[in-house]
Amino acid sequence: MASVSVQTTVSLDGFHGNDLCGRVAGVDPLQPPEAYVSEGDIRLGVAALALNPGNSGEMQFRWKIPPTLFDKQLHVLYVHTNDASAQIGFIGDPSLLIPSAPVAKPVAKPAVQPASTPAAPQSSPSNLQILRKQTSTLRQLLNGEAAGPGRLARRAPLDLLERYGSRFPDATFKRPGGHDFIWLGVINYNFRIQRPQHLVTEFADAGHRVFYISINFEAADDAGKFRVEDMPHHGVFLIRLRVAGAPPANIYGGFTEAQVADIQQSLDEARLLLNITQPTVVVQYPSWYDIAAGVPGATVVHDCLDYVGGFSNVPQEMVDLEKRLIVNADLVVTTAAPLAEHVAELRSSTVIRNAADVDFFAAAARFDDVRPADKRPVVGYFGAISDWYEVGWIEHCAKARPEWDFVLIGHTTGANVEPLKALPNVKLLGEQTYASLPSYLSEFDVACIPFIVNDLIRCTNPVKLYEYMAAGKPVVASPMPEAVNATPLVYIAHDATEFESQIAKALAEDTPELRRERNAWATEHTWTNRARQFLDAIDELSPRVSVVVLAYNNWEYTKACLHSVLTLSDYPNLEVIVVDNASTDDTLWQLERVERRDSRVRVIHNEKNLGFAAGNNVGIVASTGEYVILLNNDTYVTRGWVRDLIRPLVQDESIGLVGPLTNNIGNEQKINVNYADMQQMAVVGRRFVRRYVRRRFFTANLAFFCVAMSRKTIDRVGVLDEAYGRGFFEDDDYCQRVRAAGLRIAIADDVFVHHHLSASFNALGSEEKRAQMERNKAIYEAKWGEWKPHVYRDAPGFG
């Protein structure tokens, strides 16, 4: 008997109580299909089918949701028949199961059978498959990234609050228009209030989210790789990374290679679960360098607080690491002009000085008070007292002026303060809370900054200068450049004797007018202003980038490519120009739909197929970006690829072209990786490239399936040579021209882009393809001499 092929369709009606309901249409009632439900690749069960009495070609199905799916987590469910599927998301509250199942502890899922249907072909992922892969990635991370291809680990779901902390839901909320900051600081948030805390609270008040990463780590277990520990200020979240392997105690000793990999994985989980997008990573201590550089697509800012080499307890390795950080960061901020001069040996920086919470310290101001004649003058100081503190100056003055009292607040680690302890008019109060500082400051008649002007101090911009001035206090300071040049209102002392005389002068000259003048100076130096400077500088770090995608038929490829570009680029200033090379299928119609939906997309339609070079040239000419990326439509990009790919061009003007690593090409860009789908690709690709953050491999040729160039390169070299017609060898030709123009060609070893290879050319017959290659090879050799075949890179993991 001849069988009749019937095309079925599946539609979902939704949930009725605990049942997922829907219909399968186009069924043969004599041979009803099997309908089963899966989550990702995991088969959950078979749906009950019944004929629809009102429609003989349709069957209704019901499937009871197992209690294990009521766990407050997203489950993407698929209903499959032989040749069709449909999907829906489901999130259920466990308390709905009362009394039939426990609420507090979700039940472990039963063992499930893998789906018997083969995996969808990698070459043509549909929108549905892509979404499925994305959500599966989320699930995979929730379940532990250790799961390898085909071995998706299934663990009992844990409640997100239990797993990531009670502040986790707050931390997932991103305010519209706000940036995400990952703060890799030099101190913990709850340590002494300094520049880091002031800046992050200002950022949060400006509508941004700040994830302040603890400088301490703890060991990871099944319950997640990070924890949202607290929200000390609205929009500021304290994150403790939980690290597999042997976590370091803190950041100060640096990290081993294995620890870097473990910390990166913890941060990956945090980024995904907290929906951190287009992150700006601020680094304040060099040991964070590899971690920061490993965040895909992140803007890395080095907030250079001090001259690290000036600290007696910082090892040389950290000083060397800071050099790498300075060279490779997207922006270096320095706190003082001399520090900027020091950094300038390696690169330019933006000076954003320290400041004061003026309103907070102005509470200590006594602008109009007159010191009673019987009150002893108080010379005060707050802040760290260490080996760079002029203890001798205090000792000299205290002995010379027994009628003055000296009040010193702050820990004294590293300083020898023994000579001061015996002096009756010197009080060492130790560390005091930030909240109490204004009340101490209000009692000071003169505030001082007696530092030894060594390399460290020469590069220091003292926060306390702004805080003292906010309270209207006269300030006597060592001749550190940032105090000397700040304002003539500061009294400068070069030695102990002058320190004494300047204090006396300050006491004698002090008037209500001077106090107000000092306060007025301080009001120009608020943390709010500094944060604005910081944000303005960051906004300038995203030059416009145009991605040019040339499309000819093969809509499934183009759709997947565009989906990846539009969802994974993680770049704020993006233009996507799709040039349709006179497709004969519905590609143009589909592209116009995408264009209507996304303001970043612009579609250009060519009346005839211009070939690869001329087709791309149409896009290049139409592009407005400072950087242009040519991207084949048979590619699938990875998160953060845009910024990481253009970075070599931005940082080094001698580079004219940059390409990524890939799975499928015949040159030094190819790495040896295997994956079954785009979900695995993301994991496998990331695992490979994160070992090579910021590494550039210089080469002679790039394949133009994905290539970035600056506008300067285009202006200098021109567009692709259209003599190559439909394609082949135009990329080798362009590389020759770039090198002839004196520019270098680099592979960004920290970017991976999937390449299917020759999607359009495979449509040609092999004979036609061979003839096209021969013809273009002759054109190339006529211009440049004998063509040399490309080779794979001779290194582990490549080729």
Partner: protein
Amino acid sequence: MNPALSGGGAVEFVEVSGLFEDGWCEPVFSCNARATEQLTRCQLTVWLKPELERLGCAVRISVNGNDTMSCTLPYDLPTVVQVACKGAAGDVVSIQVSCDNLVVNKGSDLRRLSFRLQSLAFS
């Protein structure tokens, strides 16, 4: 009756805010509904327009003023969220859905849109 609110005959909607006629919602949608029978659950079907560079976005659902559910929803996938919502016939229950997504609109549509509520039903 807004089509999004037509499902589930177990309540009468008393007050609704943040919902447009076409089912689109502002970042905060809320409603008060009087139960016409015993209620145990509330079921929402939510859809997020696929245009942001994110895997998903955070949604928080409060029932009678208590945060009942905080979850991350994917883009471009109708997702059903079921939360417990207990009430006797005659009780007024309140639901609030807040979402951190904001749609970038084109043309003359100046509404501040966040997500699309495809259905809201009680049982």
